[in-house]
Symmetry: C2
């Protein structure tokens, strides 16, 4: 038995240290991690993937904590679920800002074998982070976690990427946002399956709820999206209020998550979202593979000479790209 | 003379309507726009590209307004500069949130022929927006604008992308940010050439200045970056205070922008940033070209069959990507 098979089998057996080692390999884009993911892929497709996103200052991390605790300790007779939390920080490309988040979380969740927490900070392009996150989520799915919560910091494209990754997307806001945030909300709202106003004991909660409901009624995009799965059942994103620091409203939120999962299964939307996610992943990997092979085949001298011509404004970047890729390089033996 | 040459020559002659038409072609990724950009590229490389980024609610748009007004109406004997403003909204992928921004700006800046304003909202992937922005900025550069201000909404990877695009990056904050924003700042600070605390009449400005200075001293990354251009001269990002709504502090900010441009020219960093930007653009275009040709050559039936195998967890997305791209397709005649 090779070490690689050991790793795969240990992860499938639910062992934590090999899982952590695998995630590091995946994050580093190591060939060993890639090979293990290939073997583990047949065991994926069972976890409920939940994306959690929203404005900075909305208390996302505390809320994710509370959701995880509620899923672990259900009070309504439902079975306890195993939960993996992936905290992605695409806004911190150079520094490891996610470390503090871990420490804060650990106090509530540490010691529970049904909880696994992983922080990821971007070390390069967003594309790299998004690919690593896909791999990490697949590994956690294969490792048997019932629910994988992917939490992201920031307000931008990363949210849309996470919505593509998730079965269910929670958008978290806090009361009393500035005018500037309205524009953001418009885009973010359209990816929300469940809207949460956290810090609901802060002033301005009623007007925030009203504003969000009004924007929902303006847009209705999730209704259209839901209708793609079935014309009989529509999912209307609920607007919920929580106070994560006091554990208030968490039961209703978890209930909405379960209802959304049931809705996805009943309408076929679960499979549809799966397919969209896997297609997007395939396209990304094809693009990377084509580029990697081109890079292996192009002469560095030619590339530098071309770049100097672009700098001297003798040839446009687009013209250079056509020249450098036409004709396509011969396939590599590797 | 063809219509395409008309368009190019009209843009070079400084005509506004053809410029607006070209930008629409570029935004829509139309072949006519691409061809015009190829011709215009030899006329680029003169404009000072300034990226403006920062937290929602920091008053970025008002500040960009004031900077443009000050560049148009210098009080210190400097020549008036022509200014193009590109307002990019990557957080609004589905709706046109940028329209309001235009209307607000128009009141101060409309009617001045030395000012040109363009709003761009993301209509798809961030990659598409980033590419369109590159093209729009090149067109404005070729059209002869002395300064191109690229303003972005949101806090995330888009900021880092804009820093790659710009000679000078302004990061705008407002006093009294929440704890959650600290993590963002750490990443954003490292791309800042000039830090601005706008709304400096709001409470908490002193502690925000102190926090930013402390983080700057912790990191020093811009110092290292500057040192790549010259070991003799270092650029230490100034921390400035402005009140855009009262036009306060704008003169000092514009002065810092001019000093940064002089620094870039003296140290060779201007050319270095140019080269990095053009190299990144070339790499993106090569990737797109390779992918487009692969898409033209692959059979849709094979693609669908492969996707179904992935969905059934019979083959991993990575294994499928290798199979679908190996051997590479024959070069197209197109």
């Amino acid at each position: 038995m090779t070490g690689k098979q050991d790793l795969v089998e240990s992860v499938l057996a639910g062992k934590r240290l090999p899982l952590a080692r695998l995630l590091t390999l995946v994050e580093n884009d190591a060939p060993e991690g890639r090979a293990a993911l290939d073997q583990l892929f047949t065991h994926t497709g069972r976890a409920h993937l939940i994306g959690v996103t929203g404005s900075p200052g909305s208390g996302k991390s505390s809320l994710v904590n509370q959701i995880a605790l509620a899923l672990r300790n259900p009070t309504d007779g439902k079975p306890a679920r195993s939960v993996a939390i992936v905290a992605v920080d695409p806004t911190s490309p150079f520094t490891g800002g996610a470390v503090l988040g871990d420490r804060v979380r650990m106090r509530d969740l540490a010691g529970d074998p049904g909880i696994f927490i992983r922080s990821m900070a971007s070390r390069g392009a967003l594309g790299g982070l998004s690919r690593a996150t896909t791999g990490v989520v697949q590994a956690l799915d294969a490792a048997g976690f019932d629910i994988v919560l992917v939490e992201t910091v920031g307000a931008g494209q990363s949210e849309v990427d996470i919505a593509r990754l998730a079965h269910t997307t929670l958008v978290i806001e806090a009361p009393g946002m500035g005018d500037d945030i309205q524009a953001i909300k418009a885009g973010i709202l359209e990816i929300a399956d469940i809207l949460v106003i956290n810090k609901a004991d802060h002033p301005g909660v009623d007007s925030t709820v009203r504003a969000l409901r009004a924007m929902l009624e303006l847009g209705h995009p999730t209704h259209h999206r839901a209708a793609a799965g079935s014309t009989a059942v529509l999912w209307i994103p609920p607007v919920l209020q929580t106070i994560a620091t006091k554990s208030e409203g968490i039961g209703e939120l978890v209930d909405a998550i379960y209802r959304h999962a049931a809705y996805l299964h009943e309408t076929g939307a679960w499979q549809l979202r799966d397919r969209i996610r896997l297609q997007s992943e395939l396209e990304q990997l094809v693009q990377l593979e084509l580029t990697a092979r081109w890079q292996d085949s192009v002469s560095p001298e030619l590339l530098q000479a071309t770049l100097s011509m672009i700098e001297a404004r003798q040839i446009s970047p687009y013209q250079a790209a056509i020249q450098l890729t036409h004709p396509l390089p011969e396939p590599h033996s590797g």
